[in-house]
Symmetry: C2
Subunit: 339 residues, 2 copies
Amino acid sequence: MRLTYHPYTLELRRTFTLATGSRTSTPAMLVEVEQDGIIGYGEASMPPYLGESQATAEAFLARVELSQADPFRWDKILDAVDHLAPGNHAAKAAVDIALHDWVGKKLGLPWHRIWGLDPEKAPVSSMTITIDTPDNIRARVKGAEGFPVLKIKLGSERDKEIVQTVREVTDVPLRVDVNQGWADREEALRMVEWLATQGVELVEQPMPKERLEDHAWLTTRSPLPIVADESVVRLSDIRKLRGAFHGINVKLMKCTGMREAYRMILLAHDLGMKVMLGCMTETSCAISAAAQLAPLVEWADLDGALLIANDPFRGATVHDGKITLPQDAGIGVERILDQ
Amino acid sequence: MRLTYHPYTLELRRTFTLATGSRTSTPAMLVEVEQDGIIGYGEASMPPYLGESQATAEAFLARVELSQADPFRWDKILDAVDHLAPGNHAAKAAVDIALHDWVGKKLGLPWHRIWGLDPEKAPVSSMTITIDTPDNIRARVKGAEGFPVLKIKLGSERDKEIVQTVREVTDVPLRVDVNQGWADREEALRMVEWLATQGVELVEQPMPKERLEDHAWLTTRSPLPIVADESVVRLSDIRKLRGAFHGINVKLMKCTGMREAYRMILLAHDLGMKVMLGCMTETSCAISAAAQLAPLVEWADLDGALLIANDPFRGATVHDGKITLPQDAGIGVERILDQ
């Protein structure tokens, strides 16, 4: 099995603003594995605040040795890749996705069918409205018309104003992502209680990730589901979150890929937690990989490929929130743009 | 998809004796699903003490409607089968195994390869020595020569005598299955401490299944791993066993089949517990289904097909404890005897 990779820069359709900063592009790495004339596609998307870069991904991928690998022992291969070095989660996810794509193509089935899932069970996806001026927020919400649910980023002094601005132009259900932006649990509870009166259906990561006791305090009192995002990275984080959150946000780029994401979803459900399937700004490669898992989850937030202008893949689509899983084998993508 | 089934009686090579009684045969039900010219084989093995019978299995299977089913939505199919009625775990497992066999054959791969597993990682299987007279125990142990580990059934007044009898003729590591036979936790601890001096490597289900606190008391003090058997039936039982046991025994006939067994193994590992993969007296059909999962577990006890005289299948083999997974697709069995 031959592994190749090259850097790719995702050009964002609009400036992406979080509580932590703004950017107009996202560095990525596109990965291919090839054997028997079959190519498996994978992708690492690396928003800078997560600590990976094209340089770290290249250095990591240079150490991945697949030339003698039996791709159908993918569990062992991915264990070995994971043990090569700590961190490098997006780079690991790129290998995981490419290997899954290859295996699914070799089997002639998309992964949701290998997993026995009903593609019709995929929940609708939200579309994210980033922090901006009131005029721009109104324009962005109008631009997302048709989406049955929106996600808005909060976590500043302007939270109520932002929600009210959104509510001037839409009455669809909202999900709120605070990105750790609230400092005080009493204020967080008052804010959640207010949000519950504004047609908000869940709140993500209200407080700093390590404050599990404060989240547990909030979760037991909250009228809305409280969902972990920054507090959960990998499978091994889930156990300690019981009681602290109602659910978790699983993202391929955080958790090293499809294998671990699948196991995280099963574990969260086994422990009585709900699951959101999320993403970074990503091409349709990583989005289509995540979409294979969508029939298993309660909430989807797979708008990542809609946010970029130079998507080199065609695969799963998200039209007006409806996720349509490709019927093609593997992760179901076709390369439509060369680098 | 067409479902057919017929009763089959497993003739035991030797009388099987537990703390709860003896028998010379085990009622079973052989199941087939057929579509596109591919037959998937499944089996329900129903030791009477578990409450199922050929009559209950027939009544249950008569209600399973697969004629319009898309077999690649097996997750949904198996949910529906599970919800048809409570209980009927072995009958449910028969459908699950047959469906997995069909899907694997359609894909052209054995399930251990679909799951990405390395067949060489399957641990050795123990062979069970049942309760008997000292002369017969010695004969049975000699009959199991070559097995690198034996399982002995304890839980009576004669426990030390039985261990000493076994030790007269072999020095291989032993696993002890008490089948809930010990009443007192202090005595259980003294017994486990003694067993640790006799080359015993683990103890299964020392006390009655509902006594989780007593098991937790024992587990924190025991020099040997304490493994749940009767205390764990299905996936939903595992959470409450944390701290009460070091590991769990997963059996397809208890847990409704391969789908749930796979998830139980993942969950137990995620919660820090080890896993034994066990069986009933079964044909090579159910044993081969279980063997697909063997690379995932720490301990295997898959001697079930060695205990019967009229095995209608050829599949996974267990020679001198070494489990050899078939390379054929699905669960990898071939029908060699008609009913």
